[in-house]
């Protein structure tokens, strides 16, 4: 949350189509949005983020709420876009892709600057998808457990249990990785 009390004036200007206000919102929320999407869909993340911003632009004049609500709204749209993409992909099932064609596919770790971030992302990718999504919404999107519950349509108690299990699983993964490195 970076706008603070000035968020309402930024929002009003953005709703009127002011470039400066839209830039403020974009700079604040686009990086976590891309990271959230790219962590789950490394190839499509950037395009999905653009689609999310278009959805936001279409509905911006009708939006009412504070900065937290705006962030929740944005990531709710992002999550739905992800779900839509996966459904579309499931409908368009194709045959197996030859291995040599996958060489040019971007590595998820390349999406993030630095090798450490790539390793961290690889650990997150090893989590069950629902748990990984919750961790990303907490850590990347900066939402609390209640906001994550609202975005994902789960109960806050369920989110707390899932995030605890995700961290326990991450601890196992980190430990096993460290033990492999030290041997």
């Amino acid at each position: 949350m970076t706008q603070g009390p000035g968020f309402q004036s930024v929002l009003s200007a953005a709703q009127a189509g002011a470039d400066w206000a839209l830039t403020v919102l974009y700079r604040d929320l686009h990086p976590p949005l891309v990271r959230f999407l790219s962590a789950q869909e490394p190839v499509e993340g950037e395009d999905l983020a653009s689609e999310v911003w278009l959805d936001v632009a279409h509905g911006l004049s009708r939006f009412e709420g504070d900065e937290s609500a705006f962030r929740c709204w944005l990531f709710t749209i992002a999550r739905r876009r992800l779900i839509d993409l996966r459904r579309t992909r499931a409908r368009r099932r194709t045959g197996p892709v030859p291995l040599e064609q996958l060489i040019d596919r971007p590595d998820p770790s390349e999406t993030f600057a630095g090798v450490e971030a790539g390793e961290a992302l690889a650990c997150l990718a090893a989590l069950p998808p629902a748990q990984a999504e919750i961790v990303l919404l907490r850590v990347v999107a900066g939402l609390d457990s209640y906001e994550v519950a609202a975005v994902t349509g789960r109960k806050p108690g369920t989110v707390r249990v899932m995030q605890k299990r995700a961290l326990e699983r991450l601890a196992e993964l980190v430990t096993s990785k460290q033990s492999r490195v030290t041997r």
Binding site: P31, V34, A57, E116, A117, A120, R160, L167, E168
Partner: protein, 257 residues
């Protein structure tokens, strides 16, 4: 000395409670303050949270320009309320009136309108030279009794009575109860008893004398002589005090203070 990462894997990991998990995810727990076995997780979460993607804002100017265009185009348009033209409504009313007139004329030609309406239509159309059947054209030899009701019977006894009563009311010298009684008597044909309050007893004749003795005898007769036995039984039971009480009462003596 081994770095903390080496020691980390050797530490026994304790079960994580929900609050600590919440604080770890919120980034409020530093790796060195994390529970045993979770320092690596805290580091990993910080890396994920802090690392910007390689090309986060590379398309900022294009994206913002596109956003501004879309936002401006999807603004709710303020439209002035349009004044409704009266012409369509006028046309509709004219069409309705034409249809109604044509229908009524058709029914008038067929003689199917109700009697009064057929009469009016026949009269009006006759003035413009159009002949339509009258209301009784299909009646044959039935009498035309439309709109007539039988005359009310006139009773001779009531004729002129109102004016007579009115004259009496304005001309009599009587006042108060007597005046009301006289008028009432005239109005009711002598049947009213107004103004005779308190005289009903006399009007019904002489008073009837009612015997106040002989009740005991009547009771004795009615009960087959058993009613007098009650007195005897009461006297015996009270050692003649009940009789004495009666005597005392008859003699005007009372034991009451």
């Amino acid at each position: 000395m081994s770095p903390w990462r080496d020691l980390e894997s050797e530490m026994q990991r304790l079960p994580l409670d929900a609050d600590t998990a919440d604080r770890l995810l919120a980034g409020s727990v530093a790796p060195q303050d994390a529970p045993p076995g979770y320092a690596g997780v805290a580091t990993l979460l910080r890396v994920v949270a802090d690392s910007p993607s390689a090309n986060d804002l590379s398309r900022e100017s294009e994206d913002v320009a596109l956003l501004a265009t879309v936002v401006r185009s999807s603004q709710p348009k303020l439209t002035k309320p349009r004044r409704r033209s009266i012409v369509p409504r006028l046309r509709l009313a004219t069409a309705f009136a034409t249809v109604a007139l044509a229908g009524a004329t058709g029914l008038a030609f067929a003689g199917s309108l109700p009697g009064a309406a057929q009469d009016v239509a026949s009269t009006m159309l006759a003035k413009v030279g159009v002949s339509v059947p009258g209301p009784n054209s299909n009646a044959g030899d039935h009498p035309n009794v439309r709109g007539k009701s039988p005359d009310a019977p006139v009773t001779s006894s009531n004729s002129g009575k109102g004016s007579e009563i009115s004259d009496l009311a304005t001309s009599t010298d009587l006042t108060g109860v007597e005046k009301g009684a006289e008028i009432s008597t005239l109005a009711s044909g002598g049947q009213s008893q107004a103004g005779k309050r308190g005289q009903a007893f006399e009007a019904q004749g002489a008073p009837v004398e009612t015997p106040n003795s002989g009740g005991t005898g009547t009771a004795d007769t009615a009960s087959g002589g058993q009613s007098s036995q009650g007195t005897a039984i009461a006297s015996a039971a009270s050692d003649d005090h009940s009789v004495a009480g009666s005597d005392n009462a008859a003699g005007g003596q009372s034991h009451r203070p």
